[in-house]
C-alpha cells in the first residue's frame, strides 16, 4: 500500500481505465462502468500540464527512448518475463514512431496532416498519418477495425 501512495492522479486514472477495459473483455459491463467512473474521477483531480508544448512532448518521448526502455528490457530479459517483453516491444515501437512523427512535423508543419487523417491503434498506440490505415497494425497485428480515426 505504501507504494500506492506515490501514484499520481494520472497514474491512478490509467490504472482504472485499464481495468475497465479488462472488465469489458470479460463482458462485465457494470463493472466496466464503475472503473470508467473511477478513471474519470482521478483524471478530473489531476493537475493540468499547463504550458506544455511540442518541446515538452519531444523531451518525454526522447527520455523514454534514451533511458526508459533499455533498463526495463534488461530486467524483463533477466526475468524471462515474456509478457513484459511483449508490452515493452509494442510500447517502444509506438514511442519510436511518435518520435519520427514529431520530427516530420517539425520539418513540414501542418502540411504533414493537412487534407488527410490521423489514426490510432486502440490496442498498442500505433499512430498513422494518411488516408488509408494498413489492414493489419504493423506493431501488434490487430485487424484494421481496431485502428480508429482521430476526430479533430
Amino acid at each position: 500500500m505504501d507504494a500506492m501512495k506515490e501514484l499520481s492522479r494520472r497514474e491512478l486514472s490509467a490504472l482504472c481505465s485499464n481495468l475497465a477495459k479488462a472488465c469489458e473483455k470479460q463482458q462485465l459491463f457494470e463493472q466496466q462502468k464503475r472503473f470508467v467512473e473511477l478513471a474519470d474521477y482521478h483524471a478530473g483531480k489531476a493537475d493540468g500540464a499547463d504550458g506544455a508544448d511540442l518541446k515538452t512532448i519531444e523531451a518525454v518521448v526522447k527520455g523514454d527512448l534514451d533511458s526508459g526502455f533499455g533498463p526495463a528490457f534488461d530486467q524483463a530479459h533477466a526475468d524471462h518475463d515474456r509478457g513484459a517483453l511483449r508490452a515493452l516491444t509494442w510500447s517502444q515501437k509506438a514511442t519510436a514512431l511518435l518520435d519520427s512523427l514529431l520530427k516530420r512535423y517539425e520539418r513540414q508543419g501542418d502540411a504533414l496532416i493537412e487534407g488527410t487523417n490521423v489514426y490510432v491503434c486502440e490496442i498498442c498506440g500505433f499512430v498513422f498519418v494518411g488516408d488509408n490505415p494498413p489492414d493489419v497494425c504493423p506493431i501488434c497485428k490487430v485487424p484494421k477495425s481496431k485502428i480508429v480515426k482521430v476526430r479533430g
Binding site: 481505465s17 463493472q31 523514454d64 526508459g68 515493452l88
Partner: protein, 166 residues
C-alpha cells in the same frame, strides 16, 4: 484439473446467422430476442455451440479467473516508471490540444494523448493489473477507498460494488 465455470457468449459483429448454435443447444440458451446467449440457461463446460459455429462468433466466458502470472518487483518497478512517463506524455499532449493554434496540430496532439494512454494501460497490464480480480487490483480499490474517504465527490459506492462483485 483446473476447470472454471463457463458460459457461452456471442460476438454479434461476427455472427452470420448460420443458426448451428440454435440446432445444437440442448437448453435453448442460444435462441434469444436480444442476440445474446442466456447465460442462466447455458451449461458450464458444454461448448457445443462454440464448436459448431462456422463464423467463430461464439466463445466461452469464464466465471472465475486464475491469479495472473507472478512478476518480480524489479520488472514491475521499471514498467510502472515507463507507464508514469506515458501518463505525463498524455498530460502534455492534452494540454497542447487546448493551446494548439491549428486544427492539424490539435489532431496530432490528440493522437499522441490517445497513444500515450493506451501504452500506459498496456504497461500496467503487465505490472500485476492484468485483470480486475487480481489481488493487486483489489488492493488498489481498498487503497482508494481508504485514501479518499473524506472526499464527498469520490464514488465510494462504485468501489464497494466492485469489491463485492469481483
Amino acid at each position: 484439473m483446473y476447470a472454471p465455470e463457463t458460459y457461452a457468449s456471442r460476438n454479434i459483429a461476427l455472427c452470420t446467422k448460420d443458426c448451428l448454435c440454435l440446432f445444437v443447444c440442448p437448453t435453448g440458451a442460444t435462441d434469444t430476442e436480444n442476440g445474446q446467449v442466456d447465460a442462466t440457461k447455458c451449461i458450464s463446460g458444454c461448448r457445443l455451440c462454440v464448436d459448431a459455429c462456422p463464423s467463430g462468433a461464439l466463445s466461452l466466458m469464464y466465471r472465475s479467473y486464475p491469479e495472473p502470472q507472478p512478476k518480480t518487483d524489479a520488472v514491475v518497478e521499471k514498467l510502472m516508471a515507463l507507464a508514469k512517463s506515458k501518463t505525463e506524455l498524455e498530460a502534455a499532449a492534452t494540454s497542447l490540444t487546448e493551446s494548439a493554434e491549428s486544427a492539424e496540430l490539435r489532431t496530432l496532439a490528440k493522437a499522441i494523448a490517445m497513444s500515450a494512454r493506451i501504452s500506459a494501460e498496456d504497461l500496467y497490464r503487465e505490472s500485476r493489473y492484468m485483470i480486475p480480480q487480481s489481488s493487486e487490483a483489489r488492493e488498489l480499490l481498498r487503497f482508494m477507498l481508504d485514501e479518499e474517504r473524506s472526499d464527498g465527490e469520490f464514488p465510494q459506492e462504485a468501489v464497494r460494488e466492485l469489491l463485492d462483485s469481483l
